[in-house]
Amino acid sequence: MIKVRIPTPLQKLTNGKAEVECSAKTVAELVDVLDKDYPGMKDRLSEGGKIRRFINIYVNEEDIRFVNKEETSLKDGDAISIVPAIAGGNWNSTSSQLAASSASEYDYI
């Protein structure tokens, strides 16, 4: 089995679970397997079969972008980390920055 650490923003899909287990031979297969167990996961993690650019996937300590990308192979006992870019409490400020709203929404963290 492979352990997958789910980041907080995606735990809605895993019913709050921070870690799930599954079996897959590659990262691409892992995304499909996760989506079967937790529908919506594939769309959150990837687009057109590629992992989204603001999300990194690590097999143990290694970033798959520098291994074999989506085809990076997995083996029993691997620990997978899904790590999205975060920017403080205010994920939406790329858009909300422009909108006039209360100052508190744009506070530095």
Partner: protein, 267 residues
């Protein structure tokens, strides 16, 4: 440099450490560090840097203290509601340690002002809460070759990385582009456990002090991940990306990107 008797006492627990000593304390007193934001992360960073005797601390923030800030932004207090955070932080830090000079920059960072603000500092500490600022700070630090201690928090989690341009990867090597707004939870859904900013900010302060002293292994080429709920610290490797748009072999970003342009790009 001659220490006063008060300084010898004040910094005695530093000076006792062979890795710091009088020479290290002198480095701290001569160091110039600028904080992007005097909020949840910036507050503890500045607090510990002031206590450590970092001689010049810049504070970039144009917001005012609000009641909802005080659950985590420990540089401020109830009596200072409505006061500019840069002024409030200056008072807190200079009251703690008269050796520290706090320089306030009461403006929001933009592509037009950032280089001028950060150019005189040795180290930049990013405690911003939004992607446009985070990428702006990264790109400016790469262009000016400034060491950047970058961190972000979300609910119960934190990420920390130290960026030394020319020696290791930058934030864009880690995440080339920010998420489009539709892909992320709204501000109302976010929330943050106050103490998480304290832990992560204190980690940033630790990195700054190590960099000033030149001791230990900084989080260069490594991303530290911390989760308050399972209380695990983990690091993952961050290789330099030779295709990085700002610090790669053929950079495509040669000018700083404005928020507006950035937003339209990220849609």
């Amino acid at each position: 440099m001659d220490f006063t008797e008060d300084q010898i006492l004040r910094y005695s627990r530093h000076i006792l450490l062979p890795e710091v000593g009088g020479d290290g304390q002198e480095k701290l007193l001569k160091a110039k560090v600028v904080l992007v934001g005097a909020g949840g992360l910036g507050s503890p960073v500045g607090y510990y840097l002031a206590a450590a005797g970092v001689g010049t601390i810049g504070v970039i923030d144009n917001d005012r203290v609000e009641l909802s800030n005080l659950q985590r932004q420990i540089a401020h207090n109830t009596a200072r509601l409505g006061v500019l955070k840069a002024d409030s932080a200056k008072e807190t830090y200079e009251t703690l340690n008269h050796d520290v000079k706090v320089v306030t920059h009461k403006e929001r960072l933009t592509s037009a002002n950032i280089k001028n603000i950060i150019k005189d500092y040795d180290i930049v500490v990013d405690g911003s809460d939004n992607f446009p600022t985070r990428y702006l700070v990264n790109d400016a630090c790469v262009m000016l070759k400034k060491t950047l201690v970058s961190a972000a928090v979300f609910r119960f989690e934190g990420q920390v990385m130290t960026i030394v341009p020319g020696e290791g990867p930058c934030y864009r090597c880690l995440f080339e582009v920010p998420p489009p707004p539709g892909m992320v939870p709204s501000c109302q859904e976010a929330g943050i456990l106050g103490v998480v900013t304290g832990v992560v900010g204190t980690l940033q302060a630790t990195e700054v002090i190590k960099m000033v002293l030149g001791i230990g292994q900084p989080l260069k080429g490594r991303l530290l991940l911390w989760n308050a709920l399972d209380m695990n610290f983990r690091t993952v490797k961050v290789p330099w990306n030779k295709e990085c748009p700002v610090c790669g072999e053929r950079p495509t970003i040669k000018e700083l990107i404005d928020y507006e342009q950035f937003c339209s790009l990220s849609h």
